[in-house]
């Protein structure tokens, strides 16, 4: 049903009945333009540069590694050089830094924050506790990061040094470049975007 909606308008304002101006089928136009931009070489390079140099983490301090994240954004290992500005609100950020142990209570919050964030989003899991348990491996109230949200970069260490965190941000930049380059080979197919950036994982109980 080629609807001439300007944008996905709610049912209250349906342009079709009142004989609205007909701008052609905007859904297709928008989709074609988006795919053209994604598959054009220069535009893709520009988008990748934009994504990788403006990684704003959501203000989500999950556990004691938060002190190392604070030290990393401090003057000595300043991460703002890499465009890593910690801006409180999940709506405006495109990165989640899980620093430290994920308890069951915190896992629900991390999942909601992750779902609140707009689409191109990445996750850095920091600390041994979220990799494979760390020193609280057999605790009754902790979970691993991969059970909650799809993780892009793991940073080992308990707590990892701020240099390791800076290196993980650089590795994330390479991953974004590879991810965006995948659109080029895959051409215009939309599923590539889906499979590349987000694997939907439900929360699993601790094993």
């Amino acid at each position: 049903m080629p609807c001439a909606a300007l944008v996905r308008l709610p049912k209250a304002i349906n342009l079709e009945e009142e004989g609205s101006f007909y701008l052609g089928n905007l859904d297709q136009v928008a989709k074609k333009a988006a795919q053209f931009i994604k598959s054009n070489k220069i535009a893709n390079k520009m988008i990748t540069w934009g994504y990788s140099y403006s990684l704003w983490p959501a203000y989500l301090v999950t556990a004691c590694c938060g002190t190392e994240l604070a030290a990393a954004s401090g003057p000595r290992f300043d991460l703002e050089r890499l465009g890593f500005l910690s801006y409180g609100n999940p709506r405006q950020s495109n990165l989640v830094v899980i620093d430290g142990t994920l308890s069951i209570k915190m896992a629900k919050v991390v999942r909601t924050v992750w779902e609140q964030m707009p689409e191109p989003k990445w996750v850095i899991a920091m600390g041994a506790c979220v990799l494979d348990g760390g020193i609280f491996w057999n605790s009754y109230s902790t979970m691993l990061a991969r059970d909650v949200i799809p993780v892009d970069v793991y940073v080992p260490g308990c707590p990892p040094r701020p240099e390791a965190l800076a290196r993980s941000v650089m590795m994330l930049k390479e991953k974004i470049k590879k991810q965006q380059a995948k659109y080029l080979q895959k051409g215009l197919s939309g599923e590539a975007k889906e499979e590349a950036s987000v694997e939907q994982r439900a929360i699993r109980r601790p094993r």
Binding site: A58, Y59, L60, V61, T62, A63, C64, C65, G66, T67, E68, A70, A71, G74, P75, R76, G88, P90, G100, T101, S103, K105, M106, V109, T112, V113, C129, I135, F136, N138, S139, Y140, S141, T142, C158, P159, R161
Partner: protein, 406 residues
């Protein structure tokens, strides 16, 4: 210019009978929020004034007490440090003192002095981190960056001594693992002198800043008898006028040998809680200087353990001053009994209760951290203030959620 805020701390009954009028808005200042650490503050707000606060903690609970029953005595040291990661030496010191009271041994004086020096450096780092969080909660990122930067020289000092950035596990039953390297004393002096100059900048930009005084003076008032009734700890207690410091009242390690005075203020509001942390940094500096001047010679490990070391371990110790983990430490099994120990951490009194049944694992290990004892600030002191005062009070009591949830 301290305004009078009607914040007579509510008793718990008055709080629980509070009926919800229709104009009250329930705010979830949750874990993913710039104004609350790893916890959720449920605040019932009427207009701009806070009517009731219920802290929802436990987001960083990992069950250190249950896990320690599944591990050797010596393996609980790294686990005790993780909750209070900003003040690891004091956390480690408290557990080891409790273990030594079970074992019935006393470390040599040089080890006691090294423990005092590292504990005081850790206290300075903890206070600086507290000032940093206080700054970012009040909206000034400059103080956050300065305080985090001024922690780095002290992190370098202990990194040179132990090799780790903040998790040292430096203190073991019977003494310490590393002797002080050569030239450590004047490196400490350089760091202390650096911090003294930086404190002048803090005075100008932060402590005498009119907006800071306007926002924190008279906010979060807690009188002396209410502080005792609620059982709060540490600098917050001394800021309310109660002269209590575990290092003075129940001296452990080598604190009896040093003369330092315990600063107290009377108002008990957020501004005096900031001032007292600055005073305590000055006191810690004088303790470190006294300890370094009167550092005794001798072994760094308990005499009996040194004798039972293998010849190779002895040679390593004599050459490099480093105590390698011997088999004897891992097969530690103290006699049946119980012991408690109290240590004045950066944020307040850390309480340890160890029960042993003669086996290799502790039978029951109870750890009460200062932030957990400061929880009554949320339920009793915050109601009656404005919404903008919640981060100010939260920052001023230096509450570190991983330490509170253990």
């Amino acid at each position: 210019m301290t305004q009078e805020i009607k914040t007579v701390p509510f008793t718990y009954e008055a709080l629980s009978q509070l009926e919800m009028k229709e104009g009250i808005l329930e705010l979830q200042i949750g874990p993913a929020h710039a104004g609350s650490g790893h916890m959720r503050i449920l605040a019932w707000v009427e207009g701009d004034t806070v009517v009731k606060v219920d802290p929802d903690v436990g987001f960083v609970h990992r069950g250190v007490e249950k896990l320690s029953e599944d591990r050797l005595y010596i393996k609980a040291i790294p686990m005790v440090e993780r909750p209070s990661l900003v003040d690891t030496v004091n956390a480690n010191l408290g557990y080891v003192i409790a273990l030594e009271r079970l074992l019935g041994l006393e470390p040599p004086p040089r080890a006691q002095y090294i423990r005092v020096i590292t504990a005081e450096i850790s206290r300075i780092m903890s206070h600086l981190y507290g000032i940093a969080i206080y700054g970012i909660f009040m909206g000034s990122s400059t103080v956050f960056m300065w305080a985090v930067a001024d922690r780095e020289p002290f992190i370098d000092l202990l990194q040179e001594l132990t090799g780790a950035r903040i998790t040292y596990s430096h203190i073991i039953p019977g003494g310490v693992r590393w002797d002080l390297p050569k030239g450590f004393a004047d490196k400490v002096e350089v760091a202390l002198r650096y911090l003294e100059n930086r404190m002048k900048d803090y005075e100008k930009v932060w402590i005498n800043n009119p907006v800071v005084v306007a926002r924190s003076a008279g906010v979060g008032k807690l009188g002396a008898e209410d502080a005792i009734r609620l059982g709060v700890v540490g600098p917050n207690l001394r800021a309310s006028g109660v002269k209590y410091d575990v290092r003075k009242n129940d001296p452990y390690a080598a604190y009896a040998d040093f003369d330092f005075e315990v600063p107290t203020f009377k108002e008990g509001d957020s501004y005096s809680r900031l001032l007292i942390r600055v005073e305590e940094i000055k006191q810690s500096m004088s303790i470190i200087r006294q300890a370094l001047k009167r550092l005794p010679e001798g072994k760094v490990i308990y005499e009996d353990y040194y004798k039972r070391m293998s010849p190779l371990m002895k040679e390593i110790y004599d050459k490099t001053g480093r105590v390698k983990f011997t088999l004897m430490l891992t097969s530690l099994s103290p006699p049946k009994g119980e012991a408690i120990s109290r240590v004045e951490g950066g944020r307040g009194e850390m309480f340890y209760y160890l029960v042993s049944d003669g086996g290799k694992n502790p039978y029951r290990f109870r750890l009460v951290t200062p932030s957990f004892r400061n929880l009554p600030y949320f339920t009793h002191v915050m109601p009656g203030h404005k919404l903008a005062d919640i981060p100010v009070i939260y920052g001023s009591i230096d509450y570190f959620p991983p330490e509170a949830d253990r």
